[in-house]
Symmetry: C2
Subunit: 207 residues, 2 copies
């Protein structure tokens, strides 16, 4: 007899604990990403409505393998796989500046693990910075419900030190509190990060 979970998904016996734990972890990560992503999408929509900035999330890259063309209906993709993105998730234009950023969530309460990033994302931010873009990361500590904006330079510094002997694999929250701006929750926009960008632009221009 096939047993199904209440959500209709079939139940599989799985004795491979590590595999199962890994899968659970993956699911959790993607859920966490969703929430911040949704709030940022609403924020960006609000910025667009107010005619303040044009920032969009890039679509998730998907490798399409098989497509069906049912008659009189939309093309149906029947086999496809997620691909790793070669850039960050968000970019756009604000006050003539190119903005480029990544959004990350962590349940960690005392530090932000650097393995939230892939090498190529850091590289992409380094390249974008080098050409005059404003790059940063929005990090939510979901257990604390606190959001910070990490400037790219700050992130690069921590990224690089991890490869040194005794390098830390995470950024302590204390350092983030000390050197980065906290983004207060708003009603609309919910994550008013452009306030922080305004400061960055001011600093940039006063240099």
């Amino acid at each position: 007899m096939k047993i199904h979970y209440p959500n209709g998904q079939p139940f599989h016996y799985n004795n491979d604990k590590s595999e199962s734990r890994k899968k659970q972890k993956q699911v959790k990560y993607s859920n966490r990403g969703m929430t911040l992503e949704k709030e940022l999408n609403l924020t960006n929509q609000q910025y667009l409505n107010e005619n303040l900035a044009v920032i969009h999330k890039k679509p998730t890259p998907i490798q399409v393998v098989k497509v069906d063309y049912p008659r009189r209906s939309a093309a149906k993709i029947t086999e496809a796989y997620y691909r790793r993105s070669s850039t960050t998730d968000y970019n756009g234009v604000y006050k003539g500046y190119y903005l480029d950023f990544e959004a990350k969530e962590t349940k960690n309460k005392s530090s932000f693990p650097l393995n939230n990033f892939h090498e190529h994302q850091i590289q992409h931010m380094q390249q974008s910075c080098a050409h005059g873009g404003i790059c940063f990361t929005i990090v939510r500590f979901s257990s604390l419900n606190e959001i910070y904006l990490l400037e790219a330079e700050f992130l690069f510094k921590w990224w690089d030190q991890q490869f040194l002997e005794d390098g830390r694999k995470s950024i302590p929250l204390a350092s983030i509190k000390n050197e980065c701006a906290q983004i207060p929750y708003g009603y609309n926009p919910r994550i008013p990060y452009l306030q922080v960008i305004d400061q960055l632009i001011e600093e940039k221009n006063s240099k």
Copy 2:
């Protein structure tokens, strides 16, 4: 007996000629898009390699409906649909400027049909321009093998006039030749469009 084409696709009798013609047309359009897209991707990669600019094509937006998680292998998407993009296809940063553009191909020999654009793409370019971005369209006349860079302002002018009485539904090639820069084919990069952007930036700064 089931008949198959040499490529393994089953053959279907189809008396609905208009449907069949429509499908053929769709296939052709997407093939045409591919070629220019590939050349632009190579061009952008070359610009990245030369550390000149960071421009990427955005992934095609896909609505994922069903995903299988086979044990010990990558998540497999088993039902998904193409969505209409809410932006243009390419963006990035060059000399501190936000660049945003769309690439289009036409087999037409004397004009560029405006129905190659969706209203929302024009709107996105208008918004990006308003915030200081440099927006444009790269058009290939594939039968003539000529490529032009249409500045956003030029495109907007033609887009708007189509809604007037006796408005044209396409931009005459003569007007494009007259008011837009042709991009000469290169070896590497193949479509050296940043040459034209340099001129636009110069004009922008001399205003």
